[in-house]
């Protein structure tokens, strides 16, 4: 006669109960009973059999051991250190009683609608004094468009939870105000900011900022002067906080600062949209800038609505550099590290200065080698301006490097960090890929159309009066320019992809250096071509002014390239030095 399988399980649970404290026994036994019955059903295909029950009991092991697992955590010696803070925390909690209650989907949706409408009213009312005509223009539909888009996004989120059958739960604290309760969404409504979302956010922010910079030249001067610079600055601010979220384990640290940036961004974007419908001038902003603003402002509105609840969420107290902090850095090691940072910083800055000098001197060498004369008038109006521009970007690059190494110096000095360079993670490589990809995209599109169009077909014919050597050098430089740019781009992408696959690899550093060199050669070629064209054509011709604009773009992107090339070179040198000193030590031993 076979035993009753349920009795087998109950007998086992009875033994477990004997070893459990009374305070937790009922709950634990009820939970275990459910698990054991389900496991038994699964083992015997739905029909609970005695053999399956015995197998399950065997899998759970000795009752005393199982009970011990439950009891252990409440008397864990490692927790004794935390007792004091736990008591303090509990005292706080008496004031801030945590209340858990089920939340309905309809109620959550209504809550979202209310908060969104409130934010839209606040934003559009605030901008009205600066662009009051929006009410009587087609811009009146924009808030509805923004509202519709964020509601669709939220409905998708709600449906996803609904399909999974999740019972939403509201968590509120006793001392919360009505406002706090209003803007807080259910705790288990998956509002997690995943890395992929942050990556999309970063990509869109870069594209929007690029769009603002490129398209602002087609705008009304007032827009370009008063709205574009602060909007771009706020976009950069948003980008900085988005990038921080990658490396930071605490998603709610610096929420307040980020929130202020987002509100500012929404206000400026909405103002730009309203100016797009300025009735006394046709097309003052340009349609593309308005559409970019509408799209991006919707994203920002969604973030504001969703993240308002984070404003009073306490961080857990782990500093940002928690995993990186090294309390055990000895004074000697610290002093060595600080010296090394100084040395590397100087090496990088020297590299930057040398690189820019090479670009401008190589450019100047073209007219010198071909013995062509540029009139002083043209030199003063065009050439000197170019040199000043290169110097400006060189100083910016040096400034960037100084800030970078200054921060590293501070981190070692005050916080005991142990690295001269921040270790490049896969995520940082991905961001770099996006940033440099966007920069290269901005430069390659006009370069390609210019190179394949005006430059080759027109310039060579225009320079037909020049001497044969000038024509030879000019033709060679023009032919070589684009391939060098393409090689630089492909190498750059390969380096970032290499970093994505392997982390901080030597390969990536070597290819970044190579790509930087290719980029600099093409910049030098472009500079040389420009100088030579100055000598043989009219400097005010449209195609030459276009080339000047591309040169400007190239120099601005070069700030990042030169900085990265120099730091990559310094990293490689540092690595070689470390390896060689290690080998010497090994040989000595």
């Amino acid at each position: 006669m076979s035993e009753d399988p349920l009795m087998t399980i109950e007998a086992y649970l009875g033994h477990v109960r004997e070893h459990l404290p009374e305070s937790m026994a009922d709950e634990v036994i009820a939970e275990l009973r459910g698990y054991m019955i389900e496991m038994t059903e699964a083992l015997s295909d739905g029909a609970v059999t005695s053999t399956a029950a015995k197998k399950v009991v065997a899998r759970f092991g000795a009752p005393s051991e199982l009970a011990k697992e439950y009891v252990l955590f409440s008397s864990d010696p490692a927790e004794s250190d935390l007792e004091v803070s736990q008591l303090e925390f509990e005292e706080d909690m008496q004031e801030q009683r945590r209340e858990l209650s089920p939340a309905g989907y309809a109620g959550t949706f209504r809550k979202f609608i209310t908060i969104t409408v409130l934010w839209l009213v606040i934003c559009w009312t605030t901008i009205t004094p600066f662009a009051y005509w929006w009410i009587g223009s087609p811009a009146i539909f924009v808030p509805f468009l923004q509202f519709g888009a964020v509601v669709v996004a939220f409905v998708v989120l709600l449906l996803r939870s609904k399909i999974k059958g999740i019972q939403l739960r509201n968590v509120i604290y006793g001392n919360w105000s009505r406002l706090q309760k209003l803007v807080t969404f259910p705790e288990n409504l998956a509002l997690e900011i995943y890395r992929i979302k942050v990556l999309v956010d970063i990509g869109l922010t870069i594209l929007t900022a690029s769009g603002f910079i490129v398209l602002s030249s087609y705008s009304y001067p007032a827009i370009t002067m008063f709205f574009v610079p602060p909007t771009v600055l706020l976009l950069i601010g948003h980008l900085v906080y988005a990038v921080r979220r990658f490396g930071n384990t605490d998603p709610v640290s610096r929420t307040k600062q980020e929130f202020v940036v987002n509100i500012g961004l929404l206000l400026f974007l909405n103002t730009v949209i309203a100016w797009g419908f300025y009735p006394w001038s046709s097309n003052p902003v340009g349609p593309f800038l308005v559409w970019i603003s509408i799209g991006y402002s919707t994203l920002i509105l969604y973030q504001i609505v969703i993240r308002t609840q984070d404003l009073w969420w306490e961080t857990m107290g782990f500093p940002d550099d928690y995993s990186d902090k090294s309390p055990g850095l000895s004074p000697d090691a610290k002093s060595n590290l600080l010296n090394r940072i100084k040395k590397t910083a100087l090496r990088t800055i020297r590299g930057i200065a040398a690189t820019y000098s090479v670009v401008i001197i190589s450019g100047l060498l073209f007219p010198l080698l071909t013995n062509i004369g540029i009139s002083w008038y043209i030199w003063n109006t065009q050439g000197i301006y170019l040199v000043v521009m290169v110097s400006f970007f060189a100083i910016t690059s040096v400034g960037l490097a100084s800030v970078y190494f200054g921060v590293r110096y501070y981190l070692v000095l005050s916080r005991g960090r142990t690295s001269v360079f921040g270790k490049r993670t896969r995520v940082e490589a991905a961001i770099d890929l996006l940033v440099t990809g966007a920069g290269l995209f901005i430069i390659i599109i006009p370069s390609w159309s210019y190179w394949s169009g005006a430059l080759v077909s027109e310039v060579l014919s225009l320079s037909s009066g020049a001497n044969p050597l000038v024509r030879l050098v000019l033709s060679t430089a023009i032919i070589a320019w684009m391939p060098f740019l393409f090689i630089a781009i492909i190498a750059r992408l390969a380096a970032d992809i290499g970093d994505l696959r392997q982390g901080d690899s030597v390969f990536a550093q070597e290819v970044i250096t190579f790509s930087g060199n290719m980029f600099l050669i093409q910049a030098a070629l472009m500079t040389g071509i420009y100088y030579m064209l100055l000598s043989c054509t009219d400097p005010y011709m449209l195609f030459l002014r276009e080339m000047f604009a591309i040169l400007g773009l190239s120099y601005s992107v070069m700030v990042l390239f030169v900085f990265q090339k120099s730091t990559a070179g310094a990293k490689l040198k540092l690595r070689k030095e470390t390896e060689s000193s290690y080998q010497k030590d090994q040989a000595g031993n």
Partner: protein
């Protein structure tokens, strides 16, 4: 003489190390499974029982008490549910739990990178 003190049993050391690793990883695995919804213990056991997660398999006597521990520490929130006629305790990851999971992921990555660096330096990779 206990088994632990037996000289010349390297396999025993490996087994102990392997169990400890899995136990250490288990809370992270549980939080990752529940993160975007809610689950109950048996669902988690089933997920960990799948072939692709064989390295994470541990006994139920470890998994179920761990759920309680994570709940007691505010990392999970549990609630009884009687849907489909079965009484089950459903868990979801609290906001604090999400934060802890992020920290665990960072720490795990860092540990893995550093260990693999050592392994690489030793010429084992």
């Amino acid at each position: 003489m206990s088994e632990d003190t037996v000289v010349g049993n390297p396999e025993l050391e490996y087994e102990k190390w392997s169990v400890q690793i899995r136990r250490g990883a288990l809370s992270m695995a549980i939080l990752a499974i529940i993160l975007d919804g809610e689950s109950y213990g048996y669902d988690i056991m089933k997920k960990l029982g799948q072939e692709e997660y064989v390295a994470l398999q541990v006994e139920p006597s470890t998994t179920y008490p761990l759920l309680r521990r994570l709940e007691a520490r505010g990392i999970l929130e549990g609630k009884w549910s009687d849907t489909s006629g079965k009484r089950r305790r459903l868990y979801y990851v609290t906001r604090g739990g999400r934060l802890i999971l992020r920290q665990m992921v960072t720490a795990w990555r860092s540990l893995n990178d550093q260990l693999m660096q050592l392994v690489k330096e030793a010429g084992l990779e």
